[in-house]
């Protein structure tokens, strides 16, 4: 057992967990932050990705003790941080993922969105290859990645005030850009 003081989403939280528990286990089962997902528990899928000091990290391969002294951001932290920064709604990455249909089962997506957020923080205007590379540690089984890439590019287009991507199917369905909700 070990007492841990963690900085998660800007909160200083104290908890205790067995020595061998990972950051993912502590976040999910001790702190109740179940937004970070466990798809493999061995570093293959990226569903557990969180940001540690702004960098994407696999929480299933990180001992909770290692995160002490660092700033941890989980998916639950994105919206509050966005609001605190004076924004409205949710983080533009979250919004774009939702609008582009990227959230099918959604299980891979907390990790995916955090990876995308970290990428855009570092490079606000990556090209498609750079996005693919950055996201290549996050597996998605539902989308074929297409709408995920579209979502990231949509978020970029919004921040750079450029044209969002227009997949082939939208040409026959021009009304689809009416995001009524």
């Amino acid at each position: 057992m070990r007492v841990l003081t963690l900085d998660v989403n800007g909160d200083r939280l104290e908890t205790a967990a067995p020595d061998h528990w990972t950051l993912l286990e502590v976040l999910r089962y001790k702190l109740g932050l179940t937004g970070s997902k466990q798809g493999c528990d061995k570093g293959d899928c990226g569903a557990c990705t969180v940001l540690v000091d702004g960098k994407p990290v696999l929480a299933c391969l990180t001992l909770a003790a290692e995160a002490v002294g660092s700033k941890v951001t989980t998916i639950e932290g994105l919206r509050p941080a966005h609001l605190e920064g004076g924004g409205t709604g949710v983080d533009p990455v979250q919004d774009a993922f939702d609008r582009c249909g990227a959230l099918q089962c959604g299980f891979c997506q907390p990790g995916m969105m955090l990876t995308a957020r970290a990428l855009l923080n570092e490079n606000p205007n990556p090209d498609r290859t750079e996005i693919q590379k950055a996201l290549s540690g996050n597996l998605c089984r539902c989308t074929g990645y297409t709408q995920i890439l579209e979502a990231v590019e949509t978020a970029i287009a919004e921040s750079t005030e450029s044209e969002p991507p227009r997949p082939a199917w939208t040409q026959d369905h021009p009304h689809v850009r009416e995001d009524a909700l």
């Binding site: 997902k37 528990d41 639950e76 959230l103 891979c108 540690g137 089984r141 989308t143 074929g144």
Partner: protein
Amino acid sequence: MAARDIHGIEAPWTEFKVVGKSHRKIDGMAKATGEAVYADDIQLPGMLHAKTLRSPHAHAKIVSIDTSKAEALPGVHAVITGKDMPIQYGVIPWTPDETALAVDKVRFIGDEVAAVAAIDEDTANAALELIEVVYEELHAYMDPRESLERDEPQIHPNRKNNNVSKHVELEFGDVDGARKASDVVVEGHYEFHGSTHTAIEPHCAVAKVSPEGVLTIWSATQISHYVHRALARVLEWEPQKIRVIQPCIGGAFGGKSDPFSLEFCVAKLSQLTGRPVKMLWTREEVFYAHRGRHPMSLDYTTSATKDGKITGVDAKILIDGGSYSSFGLVTTYYSGQLLTGPYDFPSYRYDSTRVFTNKPPCGPKRGHGSVQPRFAFECQLDEVAEKLGMDPIEIRRKNFHGEHTKTVNGQRITSSGFMECLDKVEKGSGWTERRGKLPFGRGLGVAGSMYISGTNYPIYPNEMPQAGIQLKVDRSGLVTVFSGANDIGQGSNSVVRYIVAEELGMDAADVRVIAADSDLCPVDLGAYSSRVTFMVGNATIDAARKLRKKIVTALAEKWEVPEARVRLIEGRAIDLEDTERSIPSREAFEIAEARFDTLGSTGAYNTPTLGGDYRGGTIGASPAYSFTAHIVEVDVDEETGRITVPKVWCAHDCGRALNPRLVAGQIEGSVYMGIAETLLEDHKVNRFGLHSGPSLLDYRIPTAIDTPEIEAYIVESLDPEGPYGAKEAGEGPLHSAIPALANAVYDAVGIRLRELPFTPAKVLKALREKREQESKAGGAAAAMDRHLGTH
């Protein structure tokens, strides 16, 4: 027949307000913010954690199990074995051959033998080590051909046909005659390998049993209703004392459509301990639980006339079922029944045999049973075209069976946009300009397919509807929909919301959906066979129209106008001829409630009578079929044998796209999965029955870098019976990706790959053989030339 009227005959308008537009998903924001609750996110006070002991042998008798040491371990609360739940079950009621935990024998490495509930996972794992099981090993079957020939030992004792799980032989028309009379015959042997779903969320279930004896179970399942039935049967529990809830689910693809051991175990352990119990499988356990694509050995013969008209198709298929029946009865039928479109077959025969082996059990994976035969047949069609010097797209057009017709095996075809699908991919890919003009190593291939939108075979025989919906209207202006359907990420809850909003003229945000909770929702049979949008969509329209009728009647009475003048639109009720008269939906609901009492309605859907008049004729008989065409571009590296796919064009006829963006997502996800299993994935066990790579890394599911660029096209043929004309989109667009890729490889480098997956080793071997043949032919031709003295 005209496409289904969109709002009912009494509706004075024809334009959609919600349907057909790309709205956000109902659960998108919850998923985007991490708020959505999946099974493993559920933590109950005092909850125990359970783990499963699995068989280390592929086939063995259980001589004895001693759990005493495990039970004595501090922190362990209960240990169960097969004798605690010996009643057999199976998702198909005719083939109950599974037990929650093994009784007497184990049938594959990974078969469940015992389960432990303890204060935490570590303690439960430690307890597993203390369980002593004595096995007596039996001969294990790893090759389906051996299962066909050898009867002893039997994998499932007391079956009359030894290790055969199911055999179907059907002939329509005169196949042999057609063959004799044909101008071209193509014969070939094809090997389709196994692959698995690898939903990113592992299976997980949580149960609690109240002191009154009510079991509540949360499970990552796509078939809540069958889990409910199986629990009642195995636990010998009255079904009304069981509540099955499907929380948000992290992908399924058919991999969560059987009742699984963990659901029974958590229920039993919770009953025994009086505490909530959770079991979460590891990724490795999920690989062994499998239920994925059946490996098939397929022998096909296609006959055709010299102008490219198919005259007969003859198929013999050996299906490796793995260790249990699962959906095997259906798989065996599907392997033959679903091939008879989009082309007209004047004659057709198939002979499919599914056998048991001592491998992880196979089941339904996206495109259940019909992906494998589609691969074989579409490759043959390409060969026929080649022999006749026909364009591969042309031969597909030529054989198209048309709309509103019947297939040779008696399936009723309603709408079909197949021709438009071909047009779209032909144009999009630049087929005409580019094909044949690409450099060596680059190629384009085409293939087509069709798939069901549910079937009229309800798994257990009953006269009740296949889908049900219930609506409740609130004075607040909220409409709550209770839907039994399992939303597995495809968006069925969203579709239900769009339809209710459309019918009741509401803002979609004011429609809430409560789904897949057996205490609250009417029965739906589950998310399989691509039935949900079609069936649940129709049930939703039914329920919403009944409710709308009441509201309109109440308003018409109140306003003293004919009902045709009342319209519900965009959150308001208006008088079409006096636009001053306009009230919010909320007030309209109040007026209707005052007039009719508490407002609510139910709706249901059942398929019409369908299918051929022969045994099995209803299996695969669908109220509507979707159609797909793919063109795949490949790059084959002659030196390394590596195939890469730069781009795929896929056009899918889904009837009306209720939400085009969600349809595109289904198309893209299907294409990705099809290409993945063609090139990378292989669910292989070695000769001992051990999986060759039970991790996401070793199994090699594609990343964002490996996935080709996918151009999706939506074709809307407007089906007369679909909800607003909609059909399925979730499984069809996988099928033809695989043969299109194979045909592209032929176009690129002139080799016909007939054995999946297309690994570099196989490509290199085929290229070598081709070179040898060519040099032999070249040598022979040279010798002939010398002999004849032409030089």
